[in-house]
């Protein structure tokens, strides 16, 4: 995924012709929204991609072999993955900061 891009504006001539965004939303880390933290038990997980498909952020990414990894920088702790996992391989734990 592309990270935040920086645009240098020195004068009026450098201004773009239309409205552009200065950077992506990925600079806003939403980890602090979370009270409960989902943890994947890889012994139970048979990579099916269901948690990845239902993650609203997306904070669950798929590795090359199809197994999911949780990106804790963006996970809001909504718990949809825990509810939807057919093998109950994801559980919620209290967040410690």
């Amino acid at each position: 995924m592309s990270e935040a891009k920086k645009i240098d504006w020195k004068g009026v001539d450098d201004m773009p012709e239309m409205a552009v965004s200065l950077s992506t939303m990925r600079v806003n880390k939403t980890a602090s929204w979370r009270n409960l933290k989902p943890i994947i038990d890889y012994d139970k997980c048979k990579p099916c991609g269901i948690c990845w498909k239902f993650c609203p952020e997306p904070a669950i990414l798929l590795k090359e072999d199809g197994s999911p990894v949780i990106d804790y920088d963006y996970c809001k702790g909504c718990g949809i993955c825990v509810e939807e996992c057919p093998r109950k391989a994801i559980t919620m734990h209290r967040e410690e900061r």
């Binding site: 609203p56 952020e57 809001k76 949809i80």
Partner: protein, 309 residues
């Protein structure tokens, strides 16, 4: 239906970090739609939850060209974009094939944007309109809209001793759109993701205007725990509250028929907005909702049979 590992590559078109409430299924809908549509897509969104959470100035969640439009005219804007593209393509300035998607909430589609949508469909532009239907004006504080179901509590139809929630019945927008003689119109649910992605693929390939109305349970407005939102979207289909079907050139087909009967109370009792219906004096509203659902389902089945041969 595209292969899983093919669509994984398109997962970066709607990025994380957006400010949607935890458990909101609308970003899932956007992700799934964009995964099928791919990077050559132009998106236009009218004011609503998804515009507010995904484009907080100066940031954006979108890795595809994106236009924010006023509340009523996302369909009008995308029809302009499509006309411009067709003109450029004729002159040879653009070579690649592009998809056009307009997205609106139920307030911007059922109420405010219906004339722009109706006009764009009538003019026959090639675009897909996705309405994520969370059944009230959730972004501004849960006011009733014409998509709010009968008996639902909202801040402008509060349930109490005077009225038992919304007194009017909801409008059936998908039927209104089918009446435009549209090539493809469908109703979907995020819980049936393969069905939804297949519908997006079909809609983008139909070569004309297309419309998908998709239910989007709102944890805040419907009053349930954030982790249940997909489960509730599934219950809505299983209880036939939100039948998922498609109408291809007016030919109806129900794409998922629940195997066993699930009573509507299963869907109502998990939501705080319907909690008042379980009081003895409001029980008749549940009976009426049940009757309406049965009537609509029977009608759909009859329409499906009509076109089955």
């Amino acid at each position: 239906m595209p292969k899983l590992m093919e669509v994984v590559k398109n997962d970066n078109l709607f990025t994380s970090g957006h400010r949607a409430c935890a458990g909101c299924p609308a970003p899932i809908i956007l992700r799934q739609a964009l995964m099928v549509a791919g990077p050559n897509t132009v998106v236009s969104i009218n004011t609503g939850c998804m515009e507010v959470v995904s484009t907080i100035d100066p940031f954006t969640s979108w890795n595809v060209p994106y236009i924010h439009e006023a509340f009523e005219n996302s369909a009008a804007a995308i029809s302009g974009v499509e006309s411009c593209y067709e003109a450029f393509k004729k002159k040879g300035k653009i070579k690649k094939d592009m998809n056009f998607i307009a997205i609106g909430g139920d307030g911007g589609t059922y109420d405010i944007g219906i004339q722009a949508l109706s006009g764009a469909i009538e003019r026959g532009h090639r675009f897909l309109y996705i309405c994520y239907d969370n059944e009230a004006y959730m972004n501004t504080g849960i006011q009733r809209s014409s998509a709010t179901p009968y008996g639902s509590h909202t801040t402008t139809s509060p349930a109490g001793s005077v009225i038992p929630g919304k007194k009017q019945k909801r409008k059936d927008l998908t039927e209104i759109i089918v009446a435009h003689n549209i090539p493809y119109a469908a109703q979907a649910s995020p819980a049936y993701r393969n069905d939804f992605m297949k519908k997006v693929e079909k809609a983008l390939a139909c070569g004309g205007p297309s419309f998908i109305n998709i239910i989007s349970p709102c944890p805040l407005g419907w009053r349930f725990n954030p982790d249940e939102s997909i489960e509730i979207a599934r219950l809505a289909v299983q209880t036939k509250f939100w039948p998922i079907y498609e109408a291809e050139n007016g030919k109806y087909k129900i794409t998922h028929k629940p195997r066993e009967e699930v009573d509507i109370e299963e869907f109502l009792k998990v939501q705080g907005r319907f909690a008042h219906l379980f009081k003895p004096e409001n029980r008749h509203i549940i009976d009426e909702i049940r009757k309406d659902i049965k009537y609509k389902w029977d009608r759909l089945e009859r329409l499906e049979r009509l076109y089955s041969d």
